[in-house]
Amino acid sequence: MSTETRARPPAAHRRPGRLGRAEPKASDRRRAGVGRLAAVLLSPTLITLGLVVGYPVVEALRLSLTVTDQHINQETGLIERTGQLGFDNYTGLFRGESGARFLNALWNTTSFALATGTLVTVLGVLMALVMHRAFRGRGLFRAAVLIPWAIPTAISALLWRWIFSTDGIANDILNTQILWTTEGFHAWLSVVIADTWKTAPFIGLLVLAGLQVIPAEVYEAAKVDGSSPWHTFWKITLPLVKPALVVAVLFRLLDLLRMFDLPFVLVGRGKRSVETLSMLAWDDMQNLRFGPAAAYAVVLFAYTAVVAYLFIRVLGADVVGRGMEGKR
């Protein structure tokens, strides 16, 4: 389209309806045709996205606003349900026993995200820095680092369950008798350790990709200027790798906020010390309380959305691949 617009006076396409001039009319028609074609070509994607993303979100919202009242008919024993719209599922999040359970799950979700998020960022960057060096056996090291990331979460949770069992390796090495999978801080810690082990390579991999596009000249210049390695890292490596790092950490955080499988398999369901929002939603759904379950899911959705928004706004995470274009 660029060459065409440059050939014409700009006014022509701002006033498309002008009669008596054949050329803009034809181009208008063509443009309308292109627009229609674009819409047709995009529609399969849009419809698919609408069905697999849009519909569930809307349906979850609707369910979360459906308040079900049920009682058992004393003669037949059958459950009779009536549903109506209301906000009870949301007010229930902050009241009484379910409220305490919700706040506990919210705290667990947040503390997992903060603790594991920080640990994987530090370890991931370290891994990337090591993987970036040229040394003998680098290929082997890279492969070894990536193995945890390649193992499905549920399987790694089972592996860690063995490690954290009472007569397992963890207690052997630490020379302790901690019952890791019982309620308490140690259960929380075991999940943080297992998740850090599993996902630090993810950060490492993305940061490595970021490191590899930093031109060597910058480092040479720093060396010539007598910059210390520490200074070089803070002033050159970190700022230049930041776009990749921020996106990697954002993805990791979003994953952490919806954490389910690791605490579920490693420590077990129903254990308050590791119960996350997703586990709570799952549990209510298992007990056929779809309204409250959807309310948990919607709150989690909103929470995740806010975190993502803050990350993009404050730290400028470039998620959609604007690259340099956005800065122009």
Binding site: L65, G77, L78, I79, L85, Q286, N287
Partner: protein, 433 residues
Amino acid sequence: MYRPSWGRTVGALVLALVTGGVTACGNGGGGTTAQPGQFEGRGPITLAQGKDTTGTVQGQLDRWNTDHPNEKVTLAELPESADQQRQQFIQNAQTKSDAFAVLNMDVIWTAEFAANGWIQQLPEDQFPLGEMLPSTVATGKYFNKLYAVPYNTNAGLLFYRKDLLDQVQAQPPKTWDEMQATCAKVKALPAAAGIGCYAGQFDKYEGLTVNFSEAVQSAGGKVVDDEGKPTVNSPEAKAGLEFLVNGFKSGLIPRDAVTYQEEPGRRAFQEGKLIFHRQWPYQWTLANATDGSSKVAGKFGVAPLPGKSGPGSSSLGGQNLAISTYAKNKATALDFIKWFANVENAKKNLDSNSLAPVYSSIYSDSALQQKFAYLSVLKQSLDSAVARPRVVAYGDATLAIQENAYAAITGAKAVDAALADMQNKLTEVTARR
């Protein structure tokens, strides 16, 4: 960057919510009132059950299919985990799908499925319920109507180290006190240094509900009485829970046992780390394996569970068969479960899969008694076994039990406080009507 038009998006959301919400109001109701006698239609049906790990179910179905070429039964295998089976059954019921006709269900689901109208009431007179163990028949009933037919059952046994008990000339204990006394004697043996005394399933999961209920029953109490009212504030319930709590305090139960589910407990028993172990009968074959996986092969025996002042009482496990309300060809389904749960098939299931039968007569079969040496002990255990609470909101009830029993055995709550909280929560769960 692309920016969506927020006004329009929000508008669409609101519109969708309103239209969606209106239809939501219509889908209340708990299903149709199930009555026996509405079993119409013949033709192919589906049997839905957990993964057939023994590989013998298809063979059984083949025999039925040869005799009934126009009413063939197809096997729909669901995941091995009971939670996932229940989830699939519920999804199937909520979409009113006819994909599953006969459901092979855990005994604790009957109340929930019946109350929701997902399974059909069955004609009692068409099944030989009188020949079955009464406690198993009770698991298929809801509001005194039959909704599911017992298919197999299960009960806990006390596995004990016969070799060690023989050395101190002790008989398997009938009471908790005897068990403690025997244990002290065995521990004094040089060969048994560092051995743990007793364990069951005490991790916070369904196994804890089973073990807690057994402790309460073995002390003469009940978790839920015959009218369905919780009674865990009774002195008997207190004695039961105190047995477990004091067991952990005194070291009768090893500290690790609070992490035990069935398998970790079995490993501990097989490695010779326990004198007494409350376990399901499946441990018999595995702990007797002579391939080196078990250090106690041939060195142990089984007895009924001990109690406070006499023999204890087990919780009931097992599976029941039910017919989905939304199934087609229900006449065929009814005929099929009559055949599938009959005494001949129950015998075969014991013989080839070690599934405990619900028919009392099979337990006195001498050939089977020889093959399964624990059979007569299992029968004794089954005779005094009690079903877990039959509550519509079973998931909430079992969580209330686990939550408080776990808090008591880990020392986070005093016994009285734990039982008071459990009683309150169970009252709320059972009265939610």
